[in-house]
Structure formats: C-alpha cells, structure tokens
C-alpha cells in the first residue's frame, strides 16, 4: 500500500509534466525554454498541485460518506 502511494505520486509527477508541457510549449525553434514558457510551466504546475489536493480532499469526503468495511 505504501508502495502504491509512492508509485502513485511518481505517476502523478509524470502526468503533471506531460500535461503542463503540452499546454505551455508550442514552438520548437530553440532548445531552451524562453521566459514565457517557463512562467507558464510554473503556474501550470502549481495549479495542478493545488487542483490535485482539492480533488483529493473532496474525494476523501465522498469516500467517507459511504463507508466501506475495510
């Protein structure tokens, strides 16, 4: 179960990177991020984390609303 939680957070990390990269990086004329892309990635990542925490809170509440034996 611990093991699942670690691999869960690693998967989340990969999903976050994929999502924010896809949303923020549109041109491939240079090989380094420009200022605008970097800002976009940082905001996207912060939003993703906050979003993820909020979902997890709501999700936990709903899980408690209909408790399961184990």
């Amino acid at each position: 179960i611990d093991r699942l939680q670690v691999s869960d957070s690693l998967k989340m990390y990969n999903s976050l990177v994929e999502r924010c990269f896809s949303h923020c990086i549109e041109n491939f004329r240079r090989k380094t991020l420009d200022k605008q892309e970097e800002t976009c990635v940082k905001r996207c990542a912060e939003k993703y984390l906050k979003h993820s925490m909020r979902v997890s809170m709501r999700f936990a509440e709903l899980n408690q609303g209909s408790p399961t034996p184990d």
Partner: protein, 88 residues
Amino acid sequence: MSGGLRTADGLPVEKEQIFRMAQQEMEYRVDLFNKLTQTCFEKCIERKYKESELNVGENSCIDRCVAKYWQVTGIVGTMLGSSKPGGM
C-alpha cells in the same frame, strides 16, 4: 513454515487471496483518482495560466466535477451489479 496450503510466494492461500483483493481494490482506487484528477483538470482549469492560484470559478468547478464524477461512478456501478458507489 508450518502446514497448510501455500502458494509459490510462501503465503497461505487464503491470506494471499485477501491480500490480492485488497491490492486490486487499492489499484482500482488509485486509477480512479488519477483519471478523475486529469479529467477535472481538463474540464475546469483555464489554459491561460495567468496566475498560479486557483480562482473562485475553478474551485467551485472542481467541487462539482468531483461530485458529478462520483455520481457517474455510482450509476455505472449499479448497472454492473455493484451496490456501493465507487466500490467494486
């Protein structure tokens, strides 16, 4: 290493089955949570990323998105003959 039927891993059969089921339930919930998180991110978060805080509209969209996703899970679960929403 006393008597009783054991599997290749050396666990007694029953214990192992319970462990496997718990693990599958867990994997199922993790997968559900990941899909829910990504779906609601696509539905609720504005793509302009003008700031790094979630705004009021995004926050209430997330709450409703999770609530509706949960209800859909329940409807599908009932159709498939399961009783509790979100459960197996």
